[in-house]
């Protein structure tokens, strides 16, 4: 089990990493570089939220873009039409996502394995087709929305903001994982029937974690909306849901450092492989197959070897 993070040396490592992150703007004030760093943090938050659901509770969602893109739209709408300032609108839209997660969790978590994948897969597509396209005049349709407020004009502040939500996501993840809830979730992941037979109300905990995961993904999505100052249905497409799975799997599913490493790796590759952007998805696709095949626990040397089999029959 991922107990290694609780050892003092690991804590020390975390501190060093955190210090480096905080110091980044000091030695690299280049706005472009800071922007990529901020994007990487945002996607790491997204990956952490997926990991909480998939890596710890064993519920593989193929539609996490629903929360990510949904929150981006919610926050943009709140800001555009009600003039709510970004920090508050981010928080509110994340709450909306959390509640949506709780509500959707109910039908979703009654089904298992492939059916769960299927259901989650459809939600962002529904949001695109039945809301954003259907009410195209309000939600901007294909063109997306813009003209709402950004976080700040300073790239340093934008960066620190993204760092703040990353820290928040790490904090929530750590607390959840080390709490009784985390223990229960791992029990559900590893053997649902046994967990149920010792009196755990597994549906309740699954729905809870679905909502929490939706909340964190919502923070990331809403922050991204105000960071880019523009949104489009691109945030909800299947590739976005798959991207977060790729990030987490690359770094290591079922750990806290894994999704962050994966998020940073993939985001940096994304931006520096710009000139071969067309082949990037081919590379990711094949890389993910290789990783799933040869090193299902991810690239991190100390990632825990969780059994990735507890799905379906």
């Amino acid at each position: 089990m991922p107990r290694k993070f609780q050892k003092p040396s690991a804590k020390f490592l975390w501190l060093i990493v955190a210090a480096i992150f905080v110091a980044v703007p000091l030695w690299a004030p280049d706005p472009y570089f800071l922007r990529i760093f901020a994007l990487a943090s945002i996607f790491s938050v997204f990956a952490l939220s997926w990991n909480l659901l998939a890596g710890y509770a064993g519920q593989i969602s193929f539609g996490h873009a629903f929360f990510f893109g949904g929150a981006a739209y919610a926050s943009a709408m709140l800001n555009l039409h009600s003039g709510i300032p970004p920090p508050l609108s981010i928080f509110l839209s994340a709450i909306i996502c959390g509640v949506a997660g709780l509500i959707l969790g109910y039908p979703c978590l009654r089904v298992k394995g492939p059916y769960f994948v299927l259901m989650t897969w459809c939600f962002p597509l529904i949001l695109i087709s039945a809301v954003i396209m259907y009410f195209g005049e309000i939600f901007g349709g294909d063109m997306g929305l813009s003209g709402f407020q950004g976080i700040s004009s300073s790239s340093t502040i934008n960066y620190y903001g993204s760092l703040l939500i990353l820290a928040l996501a790490v904090f929530i993840s750590t607390v959840v994982v080390n709490s009784r809830l985390g223990l229960i979730l791992r029990a559900v992941r590893d053997n649902e029937i046994v967990a149920e037979s010792v009196g755990i109300n597994i549906s309740k905990y699954k729905i809870l974690i679905f909502g929490l995961s939706g909340f964190i993904a919502g923070v990331a999505g809403a922050y991204l909306a105000h960071f880019n100052k523009t949104i489009s249905p691109e945030l909800l497409v299947v590739e976005m849901s798959l991207l977060v799975i790729i990030m987490t799997t690359v770094g290591g599913i079922g750990s806290i450092a894994g999704p962050i490493v994966g998020g940073f790796l993939v985001t940096f590759l994304d931006n520096y492989l710009g000139y071969i952007a067309d082949v990037r998805l081919i590379i990711y696709g094949l890389a993910i197959v290789a990783i799933v095949f040869a090193r299902p626990q991810g690239l991190l040397p100390w990632s825990p070897k969780i059994k990735l089999r507890g799905l379906g029959k």
Partner: protein, 270 residues
């Protein structure tokens, strides 16, 4: 009807091997695009034959080297096949570009039936679909191999015990699945447009058909397609801008079925 072929192919792979193959849409896509690329070069008939072969070859490679070794780990199957599907989609964008394409008609002309003009292509597609389904039915019920595959579907361990090779069976099933997917796409996509993202639609439809029809029920998937196709047409006709609601209809039907009758209309309660 033609969608039915694709859905049956998916149901076959999912039902017999318990493999949730997200790369299934790629066989559909590969078939259509190789037909598109080859038709001007070698003519329609040969192109159809070759594109079916290419599609089967892709499916065999994927199943032999990736999905078969992983078959006991459903989550890894999902992630790996999703990765493959993405890679293939992007590969096709790289080769053919991401613009809309239309596949040439296999047969030209239209026929008037009871006052409605119908392209001959539709007749061909419907006919091929019926023949293919009858052949599949004969294969599954009358040949030893087919019976073995159905045995694997019903009780994997027992089937293995009496000497049914799971690897061979999975490869056979995968080829049939790919064949059906490619048939479905080459026959139907000349009636619609072809984009590198078409695999998502095909996959989604196949998913929903399988759920509605019932897990492991190959024929249920076929019936499932009819149910959702009619629902889609009815909503598209009566609701303004209903075209946008297509995915919502799919999911709506699926959610209702999953909640009310999780084993589908034609599946068996487990």
């Amino acid at each position: 009807m033609i969608y039915g072929l694709t859905a049956v192919g998916f149901a076959l792979i999912f039902g017999t091997c318990r493999i949730f193959d997200l790369a299934f849409g790629s066989y559909y896509l590969v078939g259509a695009y190789s037909f598109f690329g080859l038709a001007p070069v070698v003519g329609n008939g040969a192109a159809l034959f070759l594109s079916l072969l290419i599609s089967i070859a892709v499916a065999l490679l994927i199943h032999r080297f990736v999905l078969f070794p992983l078959r006991k780990f459903p989550i890894r199957v999902l992630v790996a096949s999703a990765g493959l599907a993405l890679a293939i989609q992007q590969g096709i964008i790289l080769v053919f570009g991401s613009t809309f394409r239309s596949i040439p008609y296999l047969v030209e002309g239209t026929t008037r039936v009871a006052g409605v003009i119908i392209e001959n292509q539709r007749f061909l597609a419907g006919g091929v679909a019926i023949v293919a389904l009858i052949l599949l039915w004969l294969f599954l019920t009358k040949t030893k191999l087919g019976l073995g595959i159905r045995a694997l579907e019903q009780h994997p361990e027992a089937a293995e015990l009496i000497g049914i090779e799971p690897r061979t069976s999975q490869l056979i099933v995968a080829s049939i699945g790919a064949l059906f997917a490619a048939l479905g796409s080459t026959l139907s996509l000349s009636l619609f447009v072809l984009t590198p993202l078409a695999w998502l639609d095909a996959l989604l439809l196949a998913f929903v058909a399988v759920v509605v029809g019932g897990l492991g029920s190959t024929w249920g998937a076929f019936a499932g397609v009819f149910i959702i196709a009619y629902a889609e047409t009815v909503v598209g006709f009566f609701v303004p801008k209903g075209g946008f609601l297509r995915v919502a209809i799919y999911l709506g039907i699926m959610v209702i079925v999953l909640l009310a009758r999780p084993w589908g209309f034609f599946g068996q309660k487990e």
